[in-house]
């Protein structure tokens, strides 16, 4: 992994990880992508926008180190520098946790903008981990974004919600409202992909999903046991033990950085005894 610590001004690029639907892997993806960018030498901060339901800290494994949070900073109770938690594994990675006690009304557009502007001065990538839904928290997480990663499962309700979120990205964001800048660059990250079920006709294919959503694909993350394992121990998938999900997230990060990498789908496990005995026909 190259660590190109750059002398130039930080990129200050804001990327929202969103989905509409809950439980599709937003926080897992936000943690993995931010760790992946940091691993590549980009100074990265990941912000939890899910006020009242703090969880990014657990996925990042820094839940015991939270003192001040995003809301404290917005309300002027703490300085940004105090609330930022430096990752213990990567010195280019920082976490800005949210409040566990307040509700989403504590987020204000002006407050969020001020914090993001301050972060842009110092960070290459600012990853906004959106809450589920399309209300205030989710809208503010996407409002200032330059790019969006729409996390989608190959499942009807998730695809429908992603479509709705894509609509909001192209209408309810600063870039959309200004009109003079490029629209938010949105891409789909397909998670919980299961080639076996696709082969058996039980799951929509990648093409099915992309045809419906009509936005480019950032990556395909296979259904993987590594995701639960990583969350158990509080390590982003990309920094945990090698797995098909890890490879897929690394590829997605490279594509986010503008590299052209062929889509590949690794299967999670070699066929076990059961599968060898009964073949792949089941």
């Amino acid at each position: 992994m190259t660590t190109q610590l750059k002398d130039e001004a930080p990129l200050g690029r804001i990327v929202v990880i969103t989905s509409g639907k809950g439980g599709v892997g937003k926080t897992t993806s936000a943690a993995a992508i931010s760790a992946g960018l940091a691993q590549q030498g980009y100074k990265t901060v990941v912000i939890d926008f899910d006020v009242g339901l703090r969880n990014l800290d657990m996925i990042m494994g820094c839940e015991r180190r939270v003192v001040f949070d995003f809301i404290n900073v917005i309300q002027g109770d703490a300085r940004l520098k105090q609330a930022l938690i430096k990752d213990k594994r990567l010195d280019t990675l920082f976490i800005l946790p949210t409040s566990q006690t307040r509700d989403k009304d504590a987020l204000t557009q002006e407050g969020v903008e001020a914090v993001l502007n301050e972060l842009k001065e110092e960070f290459d990538y600012i990853i906004c981990d959106s809450p589920a839904g399309i209300e205030r928290g989710a809208q503010l997480a996407m409002y200032f974004a330059d790019e969006a990663v729409v996390v989608t499962n190959p499942e009807v309700s998730s695809v429908r919600d992603s479509d709705r979120v894509l609509g909001l990205l192209s209408s309810k964001t600063q870039r959309a409202e200004k009109g003079d800048s490029d629209p938010v660059k949105a891409r789909v990250l397909l998670t919980r992909h299961d080639q076996g079920r696709i082969d058996r006709g039980e799951m929509m294919t990648v093409d099915d999903v992309l045809e419906i959503l009509a936005v480019p694909l950032l990556g395909i993350i296979p259904e993987s046991q590594a995701v639960l394992r990583a969350s158990n121990v509080g390590t982003p998938v990309i920094l945990d033990e090698p797995s098909s999900a890890q490879t897929a997230y690394k590829d997605a990060v490279s594509r986010l950085l503008g590299e052209e990498i062929e889509m590949r789908i690794e299967s999670e496990r070699k066929p076990g005894l059961f599968q060898r005995l009964f073949g792949r026909s089941a």
Binding site: M58, E63, R64, A78
Partner: protein, 96 residues
């Protein structure tokens, strides 16, 4: 069990147990505090700055509060950068 930073037991622990332990610890803290994680910290910080200012001239951003929660102890680390009066007080005072 770890000694000198590495595990004596080379067998990997079951991660489900790690998950359970992390949650138990975190939730015990959150429930114990009534309203979740310590909400008094911003106020504590302001009060600390006010007290210190009675004696020393420090800026808001020269006080840093860190917290580390562990199984049986939690520590609150307060770092105050004292102004260097004639170079002598350049080192941060560290209290526990």
């Amino acid at each position: 069990m770890s000694l000198f930073g590495f595990s004596l037991n080379r067998r990997r622990p079951k991660t489900a147990q790690t998950a359970r332990d992390r949650l138990q610890l975190l939730l015990a803290h959150e429930r114990g505090q009534g309203s979740g994680t310590p909400d008094y910290l911003p106020q504590l910080q302001n009060d600390l700055i006010a007290v210190i200012r009675k004696y020393i001239d420090v800026a808001d951003d020269e006080v840093d509060i860190r917290m580390e929660r562990d199984d049986d102890v939690s520590s609150l680390e307060i770092n105050i950068d004292l102004p260097s009066a004639e170079e002598k007080a350049d080192k941060p005072a560290k209290k526990r």
